[in-house]
């Protein structure tokens, strides 16, 4: 049972463009929604996270939009750069720490 569904599987964007990755969840017990970035040969690293009491969080070029009623959240990367090329994972967590990941999106930013 996939509790966090992520799309698209892969995404190709031109430099300077906007990258958008979407996620949907089922379990209403989730109360922490992080996005992780993973480069080849490395472990995932936290990019940005949001809690359900806010609808949007922005950190630099990265923005999370959160829709609690629809149980959906998304990552927007503004002014995408070649260095942003990586695999992105949305995730959802509860207070007892069962971090559940989406399937991942391979982002390629062409120069």
């Amino acid at each position: 049972q996939q509790q966090v569904k992520q799309s698209p599987q892969s995404l190709i964007v031109q430099k300077g463009g906007i990258s958008i990755i979407n996620c949907a969840y089922e379990n209403t017990a989730f109360d922490y929604f992080p996005w992780y970035q993973q480069f080849p040969g490395k472990g995932p690293a936290l990019l940005i996270a949001i809690r359900p009491d806010v609808s949007e969080k922005k950190e630099g070029r990265f923005t999370i939009s959160f829709n609690k009623s629809a149980k959906q959240f998304s990552l927007h990367i503004m002014d995408s750069q070649p260095g942003d090329s990586a695999t992105y994972f949305c995730a959802a967590d509860t207070s007892y720490g069962k971090l559940t990941f989406g399937q991942g999106t391979i982002l390629t930013v062409h120069p």
Binding site: Q38, G43, L46, A49, Y96, G97, G104
Partner: protein, 113 residues
């Protein structure tokens, strides 16, 4: 200083062997995890320990046994390795047992031949 370190980085072994992966964190965190990343890059939690106590044990074959000698260490022992165990295994830690940033190690690529 590496926050979460795993050894070895690569592990190639034959079916039926027993192997261990070691993990150490120097962040002073209370909670440690093991995750498995399959060939399609899907990440799934296997185990979680909080203050040396097992709190999450997903539907993992009992050939996999975690051991936490202290809060800073969480090792993973695998008995009777099978081809399907080939994957990248990540150790991670977090300050609390949920709702906070998890710091991941660099991963151990296990290949069973």
């Amino acid at each position: 200083d590496t926050a979460v370190s795993q050894t070895p980085k690569y592990l190639v072994t034959q079916m039926g062997n027993d192997k261990s992966i070691k993990c150490e964190q120097n962040l002073g965190h209370d909670t440690m995890y093991w995750y498995k990343q399959d060939s399609k890059k899907f990440l799934k939690i296997m185990f979680s320990y909080n203050n040396k106590e097992l709190i999450i044990n997903e539907t993992v074959p009992n050939r996999f046994s975690p051991k936490s000698p202290d809060k800073a260490h969480l090792n993973l022992h695998i008995n009777s390795l099978e081809l399907g165990d080939s994957a990248v295994y990540f150790c991670a830690s977090s300050q609390e047992k949920g709702g906070t940033e998890a710091f991941f190690g660099q991963g151990t690529r296990l290949t069973v031949v």
